[in-house]
Amino acid sequence: MAKSSLVTKPRDILGNSALRPDGAHKVQGSFEFTSDLHAENMLWGATLRSPHPYAKIVSIDTSAALALSGVQCVITADDVPGKPTYGLISSDQPVFAQDFVRYMGEPVAAVAADHPETCRRALALITVVYEVLTPLTDPEDAIAGSFAPIHPDGNVIRHQRIIRGEQSISGPIVVEGEYVIGMQDQAFLGLEAALAIPDPDGLGLHLHVATQWLHEDLTQISACLNLPADKIRLTLGGVGGAFGAREDISLQVHCCLLALKAGRPIKMQYSREESFFGHVHRHPATIFMRHHADSNGKIVKIDARFVFDGGAYTSTSPAVLINGITHTQGPYKCDNATVDGYAVRTNNPPCGAMRGFGVVQACFAHESQMDKIAAAVGKSPVEIRLINAMVTGDPLITGQIMESVAPVARCITETDAIPLPELMGQTVNELSLPGGSGLTASRSNIVRGIGWGVSMKNLMYSEGFDDYATARCTLKDGIASLKFATSEVGQGFVTLAPQIARSVLGVDEVILEPIDTQIGSAGSTSASRQTWMSGGAVDGACRLVRERLFHHVGLMHSIDPIRLVIDGTDVIDQLGTFRVSVADASEGIEISETFEHHHRATEELDENGQGNCHTAFAFVAHRAVVDVDPELGLVKVVQIATAQDVGRVLNPLSAIGQVEGGIAQGLGLAVMEEIVMKDGKVRNPSFTDYLLPTALDAPDVVAVMIEEHEPQAPLGAKGIGEPPCISVTPAIVAAIRNAIGKNIERIPVRPQDICL
């Protein structure tokens, strides 16, 4: 007789691959994205945008649009009842342009009408007379002061230096380069969307919106509408990806204004073209770096100059600048540095947050430099990185001590240990060649290259900002309910939060309450912070509930609560035989606790760029293998090997998804993705002309998770969202250089950069 075995499914606690609670709805098409929302009596809203990068508005005539059948209302800057501007760091961006338009695509007016096509026709009937001005498009003109201010706040958004150690020191090895990073788009698939429903009394409203940070939106919307925050409720609509692009206001205020003016629900959703103008992008940057090293290749000093083009409005440019310059050294020891950094205002599109936030740009420069040092001293890319690798306790160029677990050398050696892909045979599937389905490459022309990238990335917010997170846990009859305002944008916090509750409380059933502003802020879903911050808040709330449950059980059964622990789904007495299920123990009672998680305090930088400005750091190494057709300038990324410092894997399936997804975005920046600008105008605002990696571009990813628990992190886990997309880009470019023997200092690498 066959042995019978009892197969028990592992509980979906921390460390296991719990599945997404929204997965079934998403695969069936029944998950409600914001763009799927409807309300009775709803109208559509649409935005009129400037065709010019810089112009004076002479007049706006909306009468013909208003006269069109089906149009309910038209609004302009004159219809903003409160603060006329908004912004995350500096409130310098107009809700609607009033006197000047400062970038192509700046909102000038908005309409509400009965059909999207009516909206389109109404926008075409609005007459705006512009006096076109010469745009400021070169960031160096902004720095030099050679261009009249294009904004009352001036053309330099922020200037910051870092002066560290001996300023005149050098070494026998000096290598330098000027690195150019193009403007990347987040290109989330779920376009900007919102549904605003005015209250029956017309004194408030409810906004359903796809955003990264409900409470920050609420603060900015409330000021612009001149309504108290308690008159506005925000609920997270289903979000189709974010990657930084939903941290700033886009259509929120417009949608609310139209709803209040029309007295009817308004739905707005951008087209893909409008989305390219409707959100901030990754900063294009020019970075000069000069590394001084000793004859072994050990870094002695770094000189650097960063110029980030912030575009027309501030957004998060000051923070992006600080992230960039404070990561000048990368994950390497460096005692001496002279860094000068600018974030400037131009008439290019506003730039702000995108996954990697300033560190992507810095990393491309420092990793290109590491390979130059390696070549100068005759060492391999791996050797040069290992001899410079930072460890916990090292001082950074800001003077801050690296307190995070810093397994840099381990990231490198474990990546190096991953087997290389097989060499390409003489007969291969043509789809696997550079150029893919274009079938343009010939096997005999293909050359292979290998390149490296290693990075350091700060986690959470910096410079004194207390980006706390709030969560509430309620236990009743063995079921836990969790409430938080944490934006779920696809990253999987809705999977993780119940895992935390199950682990802490010994429950299996966890209900997630609506994600809205009816609880304290969770901060933004950005900066790789929600697992640490909102995870810490959920963990804290669950622990408070558990303490009260133990107290209750202790009273009921005359046991000192300190002896009680959770064992699976039971409460047990560690020192006796008492055991009761959490379901029974919590029957008939309701325990609810709210917890705010704050990370340790950080400081602003002083005038020399010194200060404990960052909260924590994570590290990763990438090795890229590419095949290149040098004659056609085409690249196929064959394999990415990576070992990432994650602290602790809380959900293996989610973790690998973040790693593979980030790598694809970094690949995009390396070889295909760029918003092409000419004279302040965007030339490729569509998915036909802005190229994104497809399934045929995806490399094989071989990933190792390095688990050294981070003592500062509430769950021992570091954020894992950003590191995958940071050093993969320089690794791919290094592999291209390695294949063709040509120095390339610009990303994305275009065919002409390879073959001409």
């Binding site: 763009s35 026709r121 990806g241 696809g490 593979e660 694809a664 998915f687 036909t688």
Partner: protein
């Protein structure tokens, strides 16, 4: 706006009437806004991203590129029609279990595309899988888990033979 077109579409085996519509509406718009089938997603309006993939007479097409009024004589299947009753199909189950879903916006289009692929070619090679879904852009996953989901579906179909 003149919105006075009346016609019927055959969607997921049902005849659905479209009333008072504007003739310029795409199949994507009509499915989502008039027929109560928002599972089909729009993300590029140019046939580049595949989020709006539906089956039209058995072929995978981008609903954003089809004028709804020209589809009157076609059999249309959307993601809502892929699922029979409330059970997940094996493809859908694999997508959930293999981690192929993150934000999920591209997912309905991918589900339709993968059903279409495996219906025509039950044993696709690695490159046939990649080529078949190369018209469906996913910005979150980097495709690794999507490949895993397709392979898991093929394995489970082979095992149950």
């Amino acid at each position: 706006m003149s919105a006075n077109e009346f016609y019927s579409l055959n969607v997921n085996g049902e005849t659905m009437s479209v009333q008072d519509s504007w003739v310029g509406e795409s199949l994507l718009y009509v499915l989502r806004e008039r027929l109560g089938l928002p599972g089909t997603k729009g993300a590029c309006e140019q046939g580049e991203c595949g989020s709006c993939t539906v089956l039209m007479d058995g072929e995978a097409v981008c609903a954003c590129l089809v004028m709804a009024a020209t589809a009157v004589n076609s059999e249309i299947v959307t993601v809502e029609g892929i699922t029979t009753d409330s059970e997940l199909t094996d493809v859908q189950q694999s997508f959930v279990e293999e981690g192929a879903v993150q934000c999920g916006f591209c997912t309905p289009g991918l589900i339709v595309a993968v059903h279409h692929l495996l219906g025509k070619n039950p044993q696709p090679s690695e490159f046939e899988i990649k080529e078949a879904i190369s018209g469906n852009i996913c910005r979150c996953t980097g495709y690794g888990r999507v490949f895993a989901a397709v392979e898991a579906t093929i394995r489970s179909r082979n095992d149950s033979k």
